[in-house]
Amino acid sequence: MKHLIFVAGIIMVLVFTASTSMSKPYNGKVICRVETEKSVLFAGEAQDVVIKVTLDAPPVPSYVQRPPVNLSIVLDKSGSMNGEKIKHAKAAAIEAVQRLGNADIFSLVVYDSNVHTVIPAQLVRNRDRIVSKIQRIYASGSTALFGGVSQGASEIRKHIGSEYIHRIILLSDGLANVGPQSPVALGRLGAALIKENISVTTIGVGYDYNEDLMTRLSQKSDGNSYFVETGSELPRIFAAELGDVLNVVAKKIKVVISMPDGVEPISIIGREGRIKGKKIELSMNQLYGDQEKYALVKVKVPKSSTGTIMEIAKAKVRYENPFNKKTEVVYGKSIAKFSKDPKLVKKSTNVKVVREYYRNLNAMEQEKAISLSDKGKNKEAVQALKASAVKMKSIAKEYNDEVLLEEAEDMEKQAEVIETDGMNKKMRKVLRTESYQMKNQQKAE
């Protein structure tokens, strides 16, 4: 009898443990940090202060089942993709199929001057059949990028109501020459797609694709953007991209930064948002597990006396938790002291905030350099890049920041390349993609 009770007890314990581990809810919340560039501000004068609102996404533990993915790959199979590029692109698509689980949905659209759905949206069950269909793709024709993305979105929409993470991966090496083809138009398409929770990740292959269009599309739809010189890097990017897709921990994020009386918002750096009186409103579409995304804003802090402790800004972050489908709200605030001691002020510098601020400024300079060289003003472009590098270098030295120093040196090299060779296709793509990745805090790569 004792034995029986003992055994029954053990079984109950096991069942209980199993049931708790099975149904253990995932409660990882996004953490919001609000930091000023210096925690001690100089007393006695009004000043501009950079505030960094950081959202730290928690890592997703392995026991948590990720939501299923609804992936559509849109593949440019125009004539220019012929050869190695299409071969690698196919390999990458096959890699993606192999990585998806049985509950995921996969579709594949190819386009040249026309658009064809090679694999209509379906559960990834019969992998062999899908792979053999992918292998039969060959390259020819011109480039109907808009139609391709539209078709990809249409495949995604077949399961739009369901609880999937929706993503299109667009791979192209050429200019769109059929259908709307301006960066603005494709940007609007991206903006419309994100309203349906569809993100478009763009991968540009080689030197002939339109980087403005591709980055704009992914930026507006909150996807990632990549530039690869050869197709051989594709499988790796696809793997990274799918890793990202599978780990979204926050969606539809709204950040409201509010300032107390006396503190005035001046500008938002590197992101789009609204300044409404004492409030700054920003939105981000999604946050991946273990990812850090941030917003930088500049505010004017009033003259204060030594010893004052002041709340500079507080942030309210509202987002949708894809795991429990609830709306979560987290808060953060930043407090600063005031002191007349310059050493103390300098010592209190938050290097991370300063670094990101300058990196963002640098990204803006990169964009400016592109637009200058597009207008044929290569000299001015080089000057802008060099000035930005000098600035970053001096800041890096001031705060002894190696990351920033390295970036400044990269920038100098890029400026030199442009100075000697002009803004070539490759450099333009590097600058455009880097500035995009910076501004968007792209996690992958």
């Binding site: 026309n114 658009v115 539209s150 419309a192």
Partner: protein, 560 residues
């Protein structure tokens, strides 16, 4: 059907209608081709129009349901609803709220709006500043709102849906209602296609209450297009493409097998919709590849050609056959009469001499001998003639057999000349021989060759009467043949007859009154025998104008 002109006449009678039928058929085919081309263009145009109509209906439906949704917004939730839509509806690019007095209420000015919103405001600036009225494409719906429902706004929705009425009818009710103290809602809405920076933008607006705010949305055209294009039919096949072109003639959507280089070179175009002004559906087709009638024309032309070829060649065949049969019939008739004549002559001699001998009038031995010699010669002639006829029959049927063995041509020729020298000399010819002492050995049939030689000698005796000699020669061509030449000094043969003399039954003078007797078989038989033995017989005029027949006899057995 007996004479040549008749045959030609009948042939022409066959040919002329055939040619006329062909020409008419060709013209009809061209017409048919044109008709098919025309109907292709008509059907393509219809397809383009259907496509345009479908797109128009879709866009109209989108606009109407958006208008309806805008109208249905509860006034106190106007801003929040619009903002929610802007954020979630992919078809909505921007939203606005405008009042006549305070002008634009939303989007806010300055930094409180995004860059996109600022651009939107500047695009439609002339409307938002009041410079231009919204009521461009106006649709008016007037809904009676009884005063008792004024407070319960939820029911307004139902009422508006249920009691839509024509504006003309409403005018009266409006007056009445005003008098009776009820409030009348005048709902106006419209869609404005607007070009800014050479691009089309579409603004939808609603004015729900008289003197109330005008609010609305800017349509996300790209998103609408993106949804439209995936539902458009795919054009399969070569040589045809459908394209939707925007106001700048840029391709918005393309389906089909033609790569388009110049969008201005559109084959068929039709305006897309009044809702999307200056946009068009364009069809490009490659007249070489996309012409369903072309194949029809080619096939029909081929059939017509075969028909013509069959008629003409059939006519020619019948004509030539008829002519051949006529010729054969004439030659056979002449052959029979010639042969009868040929048979009759020796028979008459034999009969005459044998009757003389029977009467016993000839007493002298010499005379009797002469008579007998004549009878023998004439019976030999008869035998040769009959042999020739028999041989001809065998040769025709391919039944003649040859006994081959080693033949010494020199000896054979000399023996034949010796045997016939009396006959030749009696006919008034001298015999010239040019035969060396060589043996001229061949493997052949000596009887057959003898027959050839005899036929040639007979011919010479018959036709070269004016000649003074018959020459015989043997030559070795030092290759594979021995050449046996028999020539005379006669009148020769006209060039036009030189080939035909070897044809069976052919005689230069074929009339019954012909000076020369003959069956027209000798040369034909001689040539056929030589060919069977692997050699040949041909004619060469001599330098003096006479005839020379050359028999080419193979040294070895070269027969088939």
């Amino acid at each position: 059907m007996k004479s040549r002109p008749f045959i030609i006449l009948f042939w022409v009678l066959l040919l002329v209608p055939a040619v006329i039928i062909s020409v008419v058929a060709f013209k009809l085919l061209l017409h048919e081709q044109e008709r098919i081309n025309r109907s292709t263009i008509i059907s393509l145009t219809e397809r383009a129009e259907t496509l345009a109509r479908n797109i128009h209906i879709t866009v109209k439906e989108v606009e109407e349901s958006l208008s309806r949704a805008l109208i249905d917004i509860e006034p106190d939730k106007l801003k929040s609803t619009l903002l929610f839509w802007e954020e979630t509806n992919p078809l909505i690019r921007n939203v606005f709220i405008w009042e006549k007095k305070s002008l634009l209420k939303y989007p806010a000015k300055g930094m409180a709006s995004t860059l996109e919103e600022r651009q939107f405001v500047s695009r439609f600036d002339s409307f938002f500043t009041g410079e231009r009225a919204f009521a461009v494409n106006i649709q008016t719906e007037e809904i009676e709102q009884p005063s008792q429902y004024q407070s319960s706004k939820g029911s307004l929705y139902d009422l508006a849906r249920g009691k839509t009425a024509m504006s003309t009818e409403i005018q009266g009710i409006q007056e009445q209602d005003l008098n009776s103290g009820k409030i009348v809602f005048t709902q106006q809405s419209g869609w404005i296609p607007w070009f800014a920076q050479d691009q089309l933008f579409i603004l939808g607006w609603v004015k729900k209450i008289r003197n109330g705010p005008v609010y609305g949305i800017e349509l996300e055209l790209v998103s609408l297009l993106s949804r439209l294009v995936v539902d458009l039919p795919q054009i399969e096949g070569q040589g045809l493409s459908f394209a939707i072109l925007d106001s700048r003639k840029q391709i918005v959507h393309l389906s089909g097998g033609i790569e388009i280089e110049d969008t201005h070179a559109c084959d068929i175009s039709t305006p897309l919709s009044v809702l999307l002004p200056h946009w068009q559906v364009c069809i490009f087709f490659d007249r070489e590849n996309y012409a369903p009638g072309k194949g029809f024309l080619y096939v029909s032309m081929l059939l017509l050609f075969i028909f013509m070829a069959a008629i003409i060649s059939g006519g020619l065949l019948i004509t030539s056959q008829t002519r051949k049969h006529m010729k054969d019939a004439m030659q056979k008739t002449s052959f029979v009469s010639s042969v009868s004549h040929e048979l009759k002559t020796p028979l008459t001699s034999i009969r005459m001499y044998s009757e003389l001998m029977l009467d016993g009038r000839s007493v002298s031995k010499e005379k009797t001998k002469h008579y007998l010699e004549v009878m023998v010669a004439q019976s030999q002639r008869l035998t040769r003639l009959i042999n020739n006829i028999l041989d001809f029959g065998k040769l025709e049927q391919g039944k003649k057999t040859y006994n081959k063995g080693e033949v010494n041509l020199r000896n054979l020729l000399i023996r034949i000349i010796d045997a016939h020298s009396i006959r030749i000399k009696k006919a008034g010819f001298k015999i010239n021989t040019n035969i060396s002492k060589e043996a001229y050995k061949v493997i052949s049939d000596s009887d057959a060759i003898e027959q050839v030689i005899l036929n040639l000698i007979d011919n010479a005796l018959k036709y070269a009467k004016s000649g003074k000699f018959i020459a015989f020669a043997l030559e070795d061509d030092f290759k594979n043949y021995i050449l046996l030449k028999i020539s005379d000094h006669g009148p020769g043969i006209l060039r036009k007859h030189q080939k035909a003399i070897f044809e069976k039954f052919y005689r230069i003078d074929n009339s019954l009154t012909s000076t020369f007797p003959g069956s027209g078989l000798g040369l034909s038989i001689a040539r056929q025998i030589l060919r069977d033995l692997g050699g040949d017989l041909y004619f060469e005029p001599t330098s003096e104008g006479g005839s020379c027949f050359i028999a080419r006899i193979p040294k070895q057995d070269a027969s088939k």
